[in-house]
């Protein structure tokens, strides 16, 4: 989408999409989209070359794609209109920051009353299509659905692909942005030269550059680490002689999951260096490849490459800027490798992998397959303290953050926590102006004595799948903050087994007539079809995560409010949520078991 198109759409939002109850402005500045944008921290991927804009606002055009399906929807443009107006109110009309408690103003009925006259005026002057919408500012169920479903993706694995029987039935994935642009990424791919499937969620911080790079590159590193020596040789020879390459991965991507074309050459060269080293290192003895080792090596190697690329730089100024942004931003990763009954989860950071287990009595229980690398993890705290001199014991983790700054204790990128001060200064000085002008990058963490403080080395947990292991949920902390793992597993489990609708009815000893029962069932069905129309387990889970009321049931009102929050408020109520739900084929898993 071109920038001008975006702009015009933005303007359209401002003009025509007055949200009821939020009409705050009659100032002409409203017409200028940029006026709305500038004061705000982030906007929908509009590259504004203002020096005051933080480095990590992500000038890349691509993230706008994430919003495209939303914007495409006329109704939805209204939502963003809302967002836009909030900005206005926030930053144009009431300059002092609004206290947190008052942020709920969007939902405040008083405001609605207050605003109504103007809205009427607006309707009068513009005569647009909102005359019939209710006065209360709620999204309709279809609007909610199109927001929730904008990024959903499902993939069904053929039970038998002609070569192997797959223990994975398929996966559902989805993400809901809170940051704009979203900083989470997800990836899924089938290994073509080895067996197995890779799935991962990546939670970026300080921008999405690093999570984007990791989501593109990590699986290649893993796949290459898993390849036998002969295949590596074959691939190298093919590259050498310019022949067609064996495909290594088959990606399963949502149309919004993009790959950066510009960097592909650079990334490829780094990857090639890696496999060349693997070839050289091979002694020709061990043929067995340990998945755990491969995962650890791939993680470490990729992080190393990210760091190296940033140090070396690139003659192309765009690429040079890109590699720096990748290195200075950060990302956690939680990756699962499934091959038959062998499930490996490699985790770096605070995303989580949860296994859904169906007990004999049909109930669901959760088995955690990853450890969070943050201050809540005692072992991580101890590791950090051991890795640094005693006198740093108090400063290494402060306020539950690494050096008082970073929540996850392991991550990709984040060279500010890895490089020596000298190196950081050197790179920034020789780097492009954007980098140099940025306060954040120049800032050296306090108590920075013995880098590196951060590693990308993952913790790998192996699990042998059993027939009762029905699914695996990979999700970023956005989900786990809002929901208990037990609830997550129960909701997904019941959804997948088709019991996601209400408790079954039993007549028991009651007197029920056919007519009453019929009425009841019709009502239930109507309810089902309006609320639970999710085709995708991840969407269903997000619906619960965002819309659950205190009774654990989806409350449409709440859901609607949460989804219509202006975006910089959204981040206060929730984080980006990315979920992949992998379903296992119990038949196949059972058959594997019986074989042995």
């Amino acid at each position: 989408m071109s920038i001008s198109a975006l702009l015009s759409m933005g303007r359209c939002c401002c003009r025509c999409c007055c949200p009821r109850g939020l009409w705050m402005l009659s100032s002409p500045c409203c017409d200028d989209r940029r006026m709305c944008v500038c004061p705000g921290p982030r906007r929908i991927g509009i590259p504004v070359r203002s020096p005051s804009l933080p480095l990590f606002s992500d000038a890349m055009p691509a993230p706008s794609q994430l919003f495209f399906p939303l914007i495409r929807n006329c109704e939805l443009s209204r939502i963003y209109g809302t967002v836009c107006y909030c900005h206005h109110k926030h930053f144009c009309c009431s300059p002092p920051p609004v206290p947190h408690s008052r942020l709920r103003y969007t939902l405040h009925p008083a405001y609605a009353t207050f605003c109504r006259p103007k809205e009427n005026w607006w309707q009068y002057t513009q005569g647009r299509r909102y005359a019939s919408t209710p006065q209360k500012f709620y999204l309709t169920p279809p609007q909610v659905n199109s927001i929730l479903k904008a990024n959903e993706y499902s993939f069904k694995v053929p039970e038998f692909d002609g070569k192997n029987v797959s223990s994975v039935l398929g996966f559902d994935s989805n993400q809901l942005p809170a940051n704009a642009p979203i900083e989470d990424r997800r990836s899924a791919a089938t290994c073509l030269q080895t067996r197995g499937m890779l799935l991962g969620v990546f939670d970026g911080h300080a921008g999405c550059a690093c999570s984007q790079a990791v989501s593109e590159r990590l699986f290649y590193y893993i796949a290459v680490s898993l390849l036998p020596h002969e295949t590596l040789l074959e691939i190298e020879n093919a590259v050498e002689s310019g022949r067609a390459l064996l495909p290594i991965l088959q990606w399963h991507k949502h149309p919004n999951d993009y790959f950066s074309k510009e960097a592909s050459k650079l990334y490829f060269n780094s990857l090639r260096t890696y496999w060349q080293e693997l070839i050289d290192l091979n002694t020709g003895e061990s043929t067995d490849i340990d998945v755990k080792e491969a995962l650890i090596n791939a993680f470490k190697r990729l992080d190393n490459d990210i760091s190296l690329e940033a140090q070396v730089g690139d003659p192309n100024s765009f690429l040079n800027y890109l590699v720096l942004r990748v290195a200075f931003s950060g990302a956690t990763a939680c990756v699962a490798h499934v091959d038959g009954v062998d499930l490996h989860v490699a985790n770096t950071g605070d995303s989580r992998a949860m296994l859904g287990v169906q007990e004999e009595d049909g109930s669901w229980s959760a088995v955690t397959l990853s450890n969070d690398h943050n201050a809540q993890n005692q072992r991580e705290l101890e590791r950090l303290k051991l890795e640094h001199p005693k006198n740093e014991a108090k400063s290494v983790v402060k306020q539950d953050r690494l050096l008082g700054l970073l929540m996850p204790f392991r991550a990709f990128g984040d060279v500010k926590f890895k490089w020596s001060i000298d190196l950081q200064k050197r790179v920034i000085e020789s780097g492009p102006d954007q980098l140099n002008d940025n306060e954040y990058t120049k800032f050296i963490p306090p108590n920075y004595y013995t880098p590196p403080y951060l590693t990308a080395e993952p913790e790998v947990i192996y699990h042998r799948l059993r027939p009762q292991d029905k699914f695996l949920v990979l999700a970023t902390d956005g989900l786990w903050e809002t929901m208990h793992r037990q609830d997550v597993v129960r909701i997904v489990g019941e959804y997948l087994t088709g019991m996601h609708h209400q408790q079954p009815i039993a007549v028991g000893g009651y007197k029920v007539t056919l007519g009453q029962m019929h009425g009841l069932l019709t009502e239930r069905r109507a309810k089902m079809s309006s609320v639970f129309e999710d085709q995708n387990a991840a969407t269903h889970l997000i619906r619960h995560a965002v819309g659950n009321n205190e009774f654990g049931a989806v409350d449409h009102e709440r859901l609607s409010k949460m989804l219509s929050l202006p975006e910089e408020l959204a981040r206060m109520y929730r984080d980006d949520i990315t979920i992949i739900i992998v379903q296992f084929n119990s038949h196949v898993v059972g058959a594997y078991q019986n074989q042995e």
């Binding site: 049909g362 009815i505 029962m517 019929h518 019709t522 038949h587």
Partner: protein, 878 residues
Amino acid sequence: MFYRLLLIVRQRRASPGWQSWTPSRSSVSAAEAHSVVLPAQAKVVICGGGIMGTSVAYHLAKLGWKDIVLLEQGRLAAGSTRFCAGILSTARHLTIEQKMADYSNKLYQQLEQETGIQTGYVRTGSISLAQTQDRLVSLKRINSRLNVMGIPSEIITPKKVAELHPLLNVHDLVGAMHVPEDAVMSSADVALALASAASQNNVQIYDRTAVLHLLVKKGQVTGVETDKGQIDCQYFVNCAGQWAYELGLSNEEPVSIPLHACEHFYLLTRPLETPLQSNTPTIVDPDGRIYIRSWQGGILSGGFEKNPKPIFTEGKNQLEIQNLQEDWDHFEPLLSSLLRRMPELEALEIMKLVNCPETFTPDMRCIMGESPMVQGYFVLAGMNSAGLSFGGGAGKYLAEWMAYGYPSENVWELDLKRFGALQSSRTFLRHRVMEVMPLLYDLKVPRWDFQTGRQLRTSPLYDRLDAQGARWMEKHGFERPKYFIPSDKDLLTLEQSKTFYKPDWFEIVESEVRCCKEAVCVIDMSSFTKFEITSTGDQALEMLQYLFSNDLDVPVGHIVHTGMLNESGGYENDCSIARLNKRSFFMISPTDQQVHCWSWLQKHMPKDSNLLLEDVSWKYTALNLIGPRAVDVLSELSYAPMTPDHFPSLFCKEMSVGYANGIRVMSMTHTGEPGFMLYIPIEYALHVYNEVMSVGQKYGIRNAGYYALRSLRIEKFFAFWGQDLNTYTTPLECGREFRVKLDKGVDFIGRDALLQQKQNGVYKRFTMFILEDHDTDLDLWPWWGEPIYRNGQYVGKTTSSAYSFTLERHVCLGFVHNFSEDTGEAQVVTTEFINRGEYEIDIAGHRFQAKAKLYPFSSLFTHKRRKDDVELSDFHGK
């Protein structure tokens, strides 16, 4: 009844054995359940104490068999039988099913008298409702067939329906079928009555005894291992219902019994204010997907929903068994349908929603017969929720089968051997039964195909043909092209093809047929079963001479059409055999013969290591080149003269086609048209096909499908095994005496029976009918199974039909009997009898005049340049 059953169960729990509560207890072995000692040996062990097992035991005992043991893992009649809705309906789509239901009805009716056990039998009659005209046509077809079987039934108006049943809403009906002799009863009590009668005939019944697995030696049943010890036996009968599949797999040499269970729901209510009469007719509303019967003053109503829930895919699963609960949300559409049909029931109080899994098979027909793998292993299961209706008849046929080697009726449609191991995948079964269960109440139109479990076996040309517009049908798991949609035509939707009238592919098939007649067509016929029989000496010839009725001692390269007959002269298989060389033969049989023919050959083959039988079906792709220009195409591709002098009819030669060598070219087409069959080793298939198509272009070559083939062969009066021929038809009855060489010097199987028949004359005769006053565009099309009337008297049924584009008339093939007007006994059918009759074919109650012919039209089909007439002139000679 259901309530009583529950009581019974409770009582039984308290009592040591099930016998203690029934009046007939004294007659049953008095052994206490806990101290039971199983006999060390028996002749037959029947596994399963439901209605099937008890019925088999009952009938075996009736036939005078001794030493019968029946084992039941739980309690008698406590599985699906206990939960069965108890409706006996004779309104079935297959004649054999109608016969079984009719017999069952008569059996159950007198059972109470015979055993003294109350079965709750009430003759209520049944009414099948039609909400659409198409449904009414379907009912009329059933009605026609019931009438000729002597089962009273009639098509009635909605008004009459309202008179017969007080509660029905009839405003949306177009008609209905009333079968007054249908009945309701308690199926569990029927099973108990059968068990009791059987035990009076010294059948030993042991409940709470589970069969673990079977003991098999050299492909023969030798015994049964149970949880209470071992029983040696000669015969084993698997009547394990929904567990039959698992039981079959538990053997060391697994027996594949393709069936799968689905949950099935029905509703019980408390009595109406004015309780419903117990003889209120049973209602079947297939368009509403429900059935309704009166039950203790209230109603019992269930149905076959569109979205069935398959269950027990992974075998016996305690979790699933415990979870067999009422699912009201799932039942909602059926409940709506019920209340639409009987609005007054709104105020009726619910008693219970029963969930009872029912077993379904891949083709909606039950499974009976002997396993092709293990001798003495019989199966009766997979009733598609008509267990009560079929129980009596099926038990009788299976007992006859065991006692005499064959049942008294043709049951090929139900024979276990119609399936092979290829249908026993759990995934396939799970998917297929989800289609089969709704199909029970779906409209059954001619030529429907299953949608699930497809593309299992395909020819290497599948993708090529598919890209050229092929539409596919499936036989024995193999995809076969029906016809090819020309690229300029829109895609035809399946719904449009669902009609009892002229189908929308008519013009497409017509053009394919014309091309076969005037130019040349290619039909991929790879699905045929192909065997090779080789030996070191003359063993192969000797064996074939013994098994087949035609003389196979022919010069190398000749092809012989011949039947593989049974003792009574009936066709076990109809095939073409090419003599490849002195000691090896190539045998081509119908697709669904793969299991049946193999097991027949295995059974009759001498145990001789010098004799080798090999299934080469998968090795060859078969292309049928039909049409006068086929000869030009082939000679251009092979640089070999293909004229009749060099390549006479019914001749087989290995030659090169294109670059590929070793292609078996046979001058026959299975249709009577000139042309060739090419048997191509699969790796050459694509090459040969491409060559044929590119060379054939100038001769106007095109693809054709089975519908064209069918039209061609039926107008030529070619009978196909499985459709027209079966194990109860002899060559003499279908004008194929010329394919029988009684004097070939070998006493082949069936020779005596044929000699006898030749002397006495035949009792039925395969005849061809040309419909006279039938309007192809407007009238209902014939299918098969339509009654044939001669001078107003019923004489038989059609077996297949097709539109002949040459005659521009519909042609039906069928058998004509001569039933004595006084006694109804079958009499000899002479040529004169056939020729002197005025015939009518009854299509859904409408009779069309038909001309009968015993020989095909020859004048219309003369082909000067081919000697194909040899094949045809043979017909005239005899």
